[in-house]
């Protein structure tokens, strides 16, 4: 079965990203397909490469990146939400005159249409939020 995953909250403050990660990992292990993971609202914060969590705790961002690497996951960060919260890739930096980027290379920034498309293409949309 084909799943689309929506994540509304950033890493650490809320459990949403943790629950979504464990759901996604388990679904993949059971042979299901993850059409896309869409990060919306503060969820865009899951896509930064600049975090340094405590060494004895899980690394939320890297964990997503490793799962993406292993299963060719499509990790999409909403551009409008990202602009409000300062999540930036090369294109956004150039467009908005920013002197730095912070996106992790396993994530990509794109539009809300990617969420709609995921909901159309997938058999199930599962939303994780606050």
């Amino acid at each position: 079965m084909k799943f689309a995953i929506q994540i509304n909250e950033g890493p650490y403050q809320h459990q949403a990203s943790d629950s979504a990660y464990l759901f996604t990992k388990t679904a993949l292990e059971k042979g299901h397909e993850i059409f896309r993971v869409f990060f919306y609202h503060d969820g865009v914060g899951n896509g930064t490469r600049l975090t340094t969590p405590p060494q004895d705790d899980r690394h939320v961002v890297n964990r997503w990146a490793e799962l993406a690497e292993k299963h060719e996951l499509d990790l999409v960060v909403c551009v409008a939400a990202a602009q409000r919260r300062g999540l930036v890739d090369d294109g956004e930096a150039e467009r908005n005159g920013k002197d730095a980027t912070n996106i992790h290379p396993k994530f990509r920034i794109s539009g809300l249409g990617q969420l709609i498309e995921a909901a159309i293409q997938a058999d199930r949309l599962v939303v994780f939020g606050d």
């Binding site: 459990q15 629950s19 388990t26 199930r124 939303v127």
Partner: protein, 101 residues
């Protein structure tokens, strides 16, 4: 169509659990996870609400119960404890997932 409803907030803090209960149809399932597992506690006001929900099947996520120190004997009768594999199965077995975030 059969529905899986999910609740991830404490019923003592937010109205998500009560709102969910007001919107489930017979034959639906409700999954309690994250702080939503507190709605599974015996000896609370939510216990009666779970019992009163006609034809609704309740599940609670074991990993979240364990994290919060809630042993199986604290969980109201009639609530089935499942793991993440069970969560994925519920999502596939029902026609859609409604999240009461």
């Amino acid at each position: 169509m059969s529905e899986l409803h999910t609740v991830n907030k404490s019923p003592f803090e937010k109205n998500s659990f009560d709102s969910c209960l007001g919107h489930v149809l017979e034959g639906s399932a409700v999954l309690l996870y994250e702080d939503g597992v507190y709605a599974a506690l015996k000896g609370t006001a939510t216990e009666g609400k779970v019992k009163a929900a006609q034809g609704v099947k309740f599940y609670a996520l074991g990993p979240d119960l364990k994290a919060r120190g809630l042993a199986q004997d604290r969980v109201s009768d009639g609530i089935e404890i499942i793991d993440y594999a069970g969560f994925v199965d519920l999502a596939t077995e029902h026609d859609k997932v409604v999240a009461w975030v």
